[in-house]
């Protein structure tokens, strides 16, 4: 709170939500607003050069390690591939307990047996699993307290997202957008594991938006929710991005806008009822999921304070909305793209002709991995900058067979990176007021790491080839690096361990904890 008083423009309630647990890191993004900002400042610009590894915890799996750890009361809870959890002491990295899930031997997962993190509340740790269950584990032993089946994995459903606890609900998203599932976001009672609400992200026949799908194509419409939601406690509203429509690269069987794929949804947290939506990429045929973390910030907008949601999208446009009304305020290209001539005054893209996938391959920017993807962004209320991991690369997009078979791949095409061209990448410090970067830190290779900013004036992330790095949050100047030798697919976090600040990130197949 002390810190929040110095931040003009932030309401006290919002600031309290943002900074009430300075010592810990208790949600996916550090707070429910999606900031991935730590108010800690023991590690700052003047001493970060002396940052060193304190301990390393190695996992015994070879799948990608995408977890964003949770830390509370000097204990770190980290999910491991495929659907496991380990509790570690933050001072030493010693294991306190392990939960190991036995999974079915035929799991339809698109992109590795991964998990992006757990949630914690009271005496329970919550985990979404690859067989589409939601588990509550006892926080002190790892024993299962309840186990809820969220969806049938045999149909292609899985859960890779870090759940989010909102009041007495655990919010869990769906994955399986490459298997023709019908996407949803669901809420379960945190104590009993009973489902409280479920909001389908693809409307059924007769529901509003159903006309945006040809014939029965909505049934395999995907629009999954595989990156954590954010939550505004004042408005009691959840903000969630949805994934690609199914099938990915051939759109003839699903003519129409395909609501609510590639969209930002604002949902009433108590009921799941939709308050408003915005579709970034209507009738997407390039697999540009809008599953980025919606960042909730209160900033001056053209002279008046306004509740905003900031969204750096995979489709290469940067967006700002009023998060109460859903009004589109700004949309600007922030990474090279060739698919749209621009956005109209409502934010709808003016699609350039001849940019659809073809049988022989059609070159379009950005590539399928997009301008950014599931790498979590960061927003610093001190600099008012929105830090985003970006990628600049073209792709050749191909059409394919669009027949649907339950529980099987539903891609209808493919893509390759543009031959002969190396992908470029950069961490960009976006100014929400203008939609332009204040600075860029170029990377030699694209990175799947997210970004953390701190009150110490620092931005932490990792390079594609495995260096943990710290940048000056105002200039982008490199201040520290530590080579781990692994590939990063995860997001950094910061917390106090027995009063001392640590920064932790999963790189390669290990958790690295750094401190002074």
């Amino acid at each position: 709170m002390r810190l929040s008083l110095r931040i003009a423009g932030l309401s006290l309630a919002l600031a309290a939500a943002a900074f009430s647990q300075d010592a810990d890191w208790t949600t996916f993004s550090g707070n429910t607003l999606g900031h991935r900002f730590s108010p800690l400042k023991q590690i700052d610009r003047t001493n970060v050069a002396g940052l060193k590894p304190l301990w390393v915890y190695q996992i015994d799996k070879t799948d990608k390690f995408e977890a964003s750890p949770i830390v509370r009361d000097n204990i770190m809870y980290v999910s491991e591939p495929p659907s496991d959890v380990t509790a570690l002491e933050t001072r030493t990295g010693k294991v306190l307990w392990k939960y190991r899930r036995v999974l079915p031997d035929t799991l339809p997962v698109c992109c590795g047996k991964v998990n992006r993190g757990v949630a914690i509340e009271g005496d329970k740790v919550y985990l979404g699993t690859l067989d589409a269950h939601l588990l509550a584990l006892d926080a002190s032993t790892g024993h299962i307290v309840w186990d809820a089946t969220v969806a049938p994995y045999q149909k292609g459903y899985s859960s890779t997202v870090a759940p989010l606890v909102v009041k007495d609900l655990v919010i869990i998203g769906s994955a399986g957008g490459e298997f023709g599932v019908r996407g949803f976001l669901a809420a379960y009672n945190k104590d009993t594991g009973k489902e409280v609400w479920r909001t389908w992200t693809v409307p059924a026949k007769g529901e509003k938006g159903a006309g945006s799908w040809k014939a029965e194509s909505y049934k395999s419409g995907s629009a999954t929710t595989w990156v954590s939601s954010t939550y505004d406690p004042e408005l009691n509203t959840l903000y969630v991005g949805t994934g690609n429509p199914g099938p990915d690269w051939t759109g003839g069987s699903r003519e129409g806008d395909n609501l609510y794929s590639d969209s930002l949804l604002a949902l009433d947290a108590a009921t799941g009822k939709m308050k408003w939506y915005f579709q970034f990429t209507p009738h997407d045929v390039h697999d540009w999921d809008a599953t980025q973390v919606p960042v909730l910030a209160d900033l001056p907008w053209q002279g008046a304070a306004r509740k905003l949601v900031l969204f750096a999208n995979r489709n290469a446009f940067y967006y700002v909305f009023d998060r109460e009304s859903g009004e589109f305020l700004l949309g600007k290209q922030y990474v090279r793209q060739t698919w749209a001539k621009g956005l109209d005054d409502k934010g709808r893209p003016m699609v350039a002709p001849g940019t659809e996938p073809t049988a022989t391959g059609n070159l379009v920017y950005p590539n399928s991995p997009g301008a950014t993807n599931y790498q979590a962004p960061s927003f610093s209320p001190l600099t008012r900058l929105h830090y985003v991991m970006t990628r600049d690369e073209g792709g050749l997009f191909y059409t394919g067979d669009d027949a649907y078979h339950e529980g099987n791949w539903f891609l209808a095409g493919r893509f390759i990176s543009k031959p002969g061209e190396d992908a470029k990448a950069a961490i960009k410090a976006m100014d929400p007021a203008s939609g332009t970067p204040k600075w860029e830190y170029p990377l030699a290779f694209p990175s799947w790491a997210g970004v953390l900013s701190t009150a110490g004036g620092l931005v932490f992330s990792a390079t594609g080839d495995g260096d943990a790095i710290a940048l000056d949050d105002s200039s982008g100047k490199l201040l520290w690096k530590f080579p781990t030798g692994g590939r990063p697919y995860a997001n950094p976090v910061s917390y106090l361990s027995e009063g001392k600040q640590q920064v932790a990130i999963c790189i390669g197949h290990a958790v690295y904890a750094f401190g002074l």
């Binding site: 010693k94 031997d105 047996k113 005496d123 024993h143 990915d248």
Partner: protein, 247 residues
């Protein structure tokens, strides 16, 4: 989708056609083959240096067909090698024997599970968790019926030291100031010991700061021989044997 170029085809699992044989001759043949091919690493199932097979939920073999595939093809990236010189029939026999190590056969047992559940709540749930309810001082028993035979469960109730589950030793630490900490020992190394109290609170104690450390080598569970009536023991066994963790 996040990254098509990293697609992992996880659906193409070879589904074996046959089934686990259950007859005594096949199990005997499987035991013999196990001793020849498997025991070098797996010991008697839970005392080798390779994975513990005395487990109803084998992580790499949740189904019978996946168990067959693990025995036949090994587990890539690990020391578990593919089988050499065994026919498919013999692999099924080994698989059938391995399953008997980890899963007790379902059978009718005397006693009333409902009465046993009530007795469990009174006598056992202070320390043991079942399906999310209970204490933290002993193992979670939600699938104990799939792991143990009725006779083994009965023995463990009457003599807690007959079969000790590792990882649940009680530690009592007296600190330099005379204060005491006791609970489950969850870690111990050259320099420190970690103890979890029944409340879930964890203490990490430097050995240099401790005046005395005692770690039980015996079970901290009381033995109920002569303490509870025979029919109540039978009810408890019936209840515990009914806890099969969904198997």
């Amino acid at each position: 989708m996040s990254r098509k170029f990293l697609i992992i085809l996880s659906l193409s699992v070879v589904v074996a056609q046959a089934q686990l044989p259950k007859d005594a001759a096949s199990l005997a043949a499987g035991k013999k083959l196990y001793e020849y091919h498997c025991a070098f690493c797996h010991g008697r199932g839970d005392d080798g240096f390779a994975a513990n097979l005395v487990n109803p939920h084998l992580p790499h073999a949740p189904t019978d067909s996946s168990l067959f595939n693990v025995v036949k093809n090994g587990i890539p990236g690990t020391d578990m090698a593919a089988s050499l010189g065994m026919s498919d029939k013999e692999i099924w026999q080994v698989a059938a024997f391995v399953r008997t190590l980890g899963r007790s056969a379902a059978q009718k047992v005397p006693g009333d599970p409902a009465k046993g559940a009530a007795a469990f709540r009174t006598r056992c749930s202070g320390c043991h968790m079942v399906n999310g309810s209970g204490g933290r001082m002993g193992p979670d028993l939600s699938d104990i019926g799939a792991k143990r035979s009725p006779a083994n469960l009965r023995t463990s109730i009457l003599d807690a030291n007959a079969s000790i589950v590792p990882g649940w030793a009680m530690a009592r630490v007296t600190l330099a100031d005379g204060s005491r900490v006791s609970g489950v020992k969850i870690n111990e190394d050259q320099f420190s010991i970690m103890v979890r109290e029944g409340s879930g609170k964890i203490h990490h104690i430097a050995k240099a700061d401790a005046r005395q450390i005692d770690v039980d080598s015996k079970s901290s569970m009381p033995s109920y021989q002569g303490v509870i009536p025979d029919d109540e023991v039978a009810d408890l066994v019936a209840y515990l044997f009914s806890l099969r963790g969904g198997l």
